[in-house]
Symmetry: C2
Subunit: 481 residues, 2 copies
């Protein structure tokens, strides 16, 4: 960890440094140049945020009221978690929306939620590589929506991406409002304390200085080489102990606080993408990882504590206790003078005990309150624990080779889709079975893809592709109209 923080190549496959710790203590970065870049970007994003709030940066129709974040994975999960944990429906400075997928209907629903506020919506397009297709599609859909409403997208758009990336160039050519850099030494899943996480948070009105302080102080605590005084080391060791060092049990995350509802989803990425690896650093096949799921207590007690207590013993629980119940006074809800928060606390302790009774293990983390400071601390704690656990089991926590396979297959499928469309067009009016088409385009080994594509085309382009039903789907005939 010390070497990693000093700038060694901690991600050997990609020959990269791993520097998310420098983001909250820039003086730690291995060169003055890096320190300055981090500080400059932080100053820049704070300035943007101030200007948006004071109206000196505004849309052609007036001050910004809404924020649309276009991003997926590490570029959405952090802002979603932090925005929900620290936001407030009435006090937020901008109302935040997301395009976090390439689902056209989902995009339409988000646009409907924005409604007539589109004219005063600021758009952040976030993609580290600048080439993420879902984000590119989301950006083009957003651009189209603005243009359909007679609005100039460039006057609403800010890019956060790697310097020189496709997205960077596109933002320059189209004269977007601003550009903020992402660096190859920050992974998407550890980018909450980079511009990716900080700009949306700052724009929403969240105190990012406190968030950075919380993360920085947790980093300091988790540098302790005495593992008993290092909470991240204790956490990593507990994971190792509870999962036999090979992910033999799932991690169920149960925060007893509505604000933390998305933490499990955030950790799902941080932990599963970091630890879910086929090979260890020596190249041995190990199939590592820990599965993570959960929502919030006591709600989840009514969903699946039945199974946790009595069913397959294939998990350990991680409870997150939040001491403070609410701001302001509470009414009494029973004859013994208890309030709603006392019940929540009772359910947390009661569930923990009910699991313990049945030899289901758990870890408890306690925080005073959900604030930018504690959220920064939680993020840094789990980031470090993941890094330490990866060292314990000897894997690279900072790459994600398995993600590429799905992307490559998707690209191959889109190529087959194009061939199918071209073949049908060249033979307009004639009906073919799936197998005939697969054979004609030399994809007989991908007949399943061809069928799925034809089925999909007939539904989505009924004006171009016709499906004649037969006895069985394999006999159905497809033709271009």
């Amino acid at each position: 960890m010390e070497e990693l923080e000093n700038g060694s190549i901690a991600n050997p496959d990609e020959n990269r440094m791993v520097g998310h710790y420098w983001l909250r203590t820039p003086t730690l970065a291995p060169s003055k140049e890096l320190t300055d870049t981090i500080q400059k970007t932080l100053d820049q994003l704070k300035q943007i945020s101030r200007q948006v709030h004071d109206g000196s940066l505004q849309s052609p129709s007036g001050p910004f009221t809404d924020l649309l974040v276009v991003g997926i994975g590490g570029s959405a999960l952090g802002p979603q978690f932090v925005g929900k944990a620290l936001g407030h429906p009435q006090k937020d400075k901008l109302k935040v929306h997301f395009f976090d997928n390439t689902d056209p209907d989902g995009i339409d629903l988000t646009l409907a939620a924005i409604g007539s506020s589109l004219k005063s919506t600021l758009v952040l397009v976030i993609s580290k590589s600048g080439g993420t297709p879902e984000t590119r599609n989301g950006m083009l859909e957003a651009e189209n929506a603005f243009s359909n409403s007679g609005l100039n997208f460039a006057k609403h758009a800010i890019a956060i991406t790697g310097e020189g990336s496709k997205l960077h160039k596109y933002s320059q050519e189209n004269e977007w409002l601003e550009f903020l850099p992402m660096w190859d030494w920050v992974g998407g899943r550890t980018s909450e304390t980079a511009a990716v996480g900080l700009l949306p948070a700052a724009l929403q009105g969240i105190n990012i200085d406190d968030l950075l302080t919380g993360a920085s102080e947790m980093d300091q605590l988790t540098r302790n080489s005495d593992y008993r005084k290092n909470p991240a080391a204790m956490l990593a060791l507990a994971w190792h102990h509870l999962t036999d060092g090979k992910g033999s049990k799932d991690m169920v995350i149960l925060p007893y606080k509505d604000r933390l509802e998305l933490f499990a989803k955030y950790l799902q990425q941080l932990i599963m993408e970091s630890l879910g690896k086929e090979k260890d650093l020596d190249g041995n096949t190990v199939h590592q990882g820990i599965s993570v799921y959960g929502n919030k207590g006591s709600t989840d007690q009514h969903a699946y504590v039945q199974q946790l207590r009595e069913g397959v013993p294939n998990f350990f629980a991680t409870f997150i206790e939040v001491l403070k119940h609410r701001n302001g006074d509470s009414i009494k809800v029973d004859e013994n003078g208890m309030d709603s928060g006392d019940y929540l606390h009772g359910f947390f302790l009661g569930t923990r005990d009910a699991l313990y009774e049945k030899d289901r293990k758990s870890i408890t983390l306690t925080i005073l309150e959900v604030t930018p400071y504690t959220v920064g601390g939680l993020i840094a704690l789990f980031e470090r624990a993941v890094g330490l656990y990866a060292s314990l089991v000897g894997i690279n926590a900072y790459h994600q080779p398995g993600v590429e396979a799905g992307k490559k297959a998707a690209t191959a499928i889109l190529t087959v889709r194009e061939s199918v469309i071209n073949f049908l067009r060249q033979n307009t009016g004639t009906g073919y079975t799936t197998k005939e088409i697969a054979s004609e385009i030399n994809n007989l080994d991908k007949t399943d893809w061809v069928f799925k594509i034809l089925e999909n085309l007939a539904i989505n382009q009924p004006e171009h592709v016709r499906r004649e039903k037969a006895e069985s789907p394999t006999e159905d005939r497809f033709s271009a109209i």
Copy 2:
């Protein structure tokens, strides 16, 4: 299944019939009386919904604009899933909010989201037993919020609960607007097609007749005793095959459609609470169950497909493919003429292939579009698959004995809390360590509870309880002020 549908005692531990199938085909109910009750309740809830929409049932301040559902578990997950799957931010007839926990801060956030619309908010309080503490607390918090705004809660409130329950009586004594019955032969997790699910959906503006038709037709399809033609039987057999009939693998639910994002959460309850059982019907210890998690594709590819493809092989995937991309035309997003939906489809097929390549198994369900009809069908399909799977492994799918343990422990903890408060009050001004207090109230074996309670009291009632820090938490002294 045939016996169950005919009214046999399919839930032997609780000596109850299991009748959620009758809800969508009331003529199937085992007596004319039951058929009439189901039909009458359905007519009643449709009438309420019509009256709310046409303004003949309105708040003292005018037509209802918002709906607050107070419920947890089966009384929230269904309405949340269906509301998100079939709702629309601009077209919904009422804007829907939830109190689905007893977190005071979460309640305050929901109230802040409702804001000044509280005066035109209709409240559904849903608890089958009528005694769920989280729901009781939520109701009292809502009542208090209305009263603080000078509003008469009773003129806004409808109860859905068992006839004669505490909640039913409370609603009668306080002259609430309406009451709708829940029956002991409908489980919370299978109550989406009872008033619990249908009234919120109808109020939101969702076509519940289509939802019921979809469920009813799926029920019909899944009555086929030829398992190859029975999709629920095929699903249950696949689960059995993939998890060795003992939950050896997790079920990862990946719908490629934003609208279905909450389906995994809904299924988490339906499947885990139904199948997660310690004993089989013969009383043998079996620790059954299947763990369920997931959100949506392609978003989740960026979160954890890395682990699914390369990491611990402890799961099987369930893809849900939705054929129709969107209503209306799409722009092209690349030089090959593809649109956002073509990409979504490519990612689904690509991920499925990438998993298959690594011998990670999956099931695919394909639906035309997310409509009330298909959502009703999906719900009925999984309800039946769960029932059939339970038969395969010989367990009772319709009780939840493990949930009681946590509730009992919570009650015990609240009693200890009361004792701690009483002891401190009787000894105002004097400081005691945790152990001293535990000893004084005869709970030495629950010293951990006593500490957690004292820590919590000092934070939430600083005007009543003082904590003096010492060298270590066990030495800290607590006193009443």
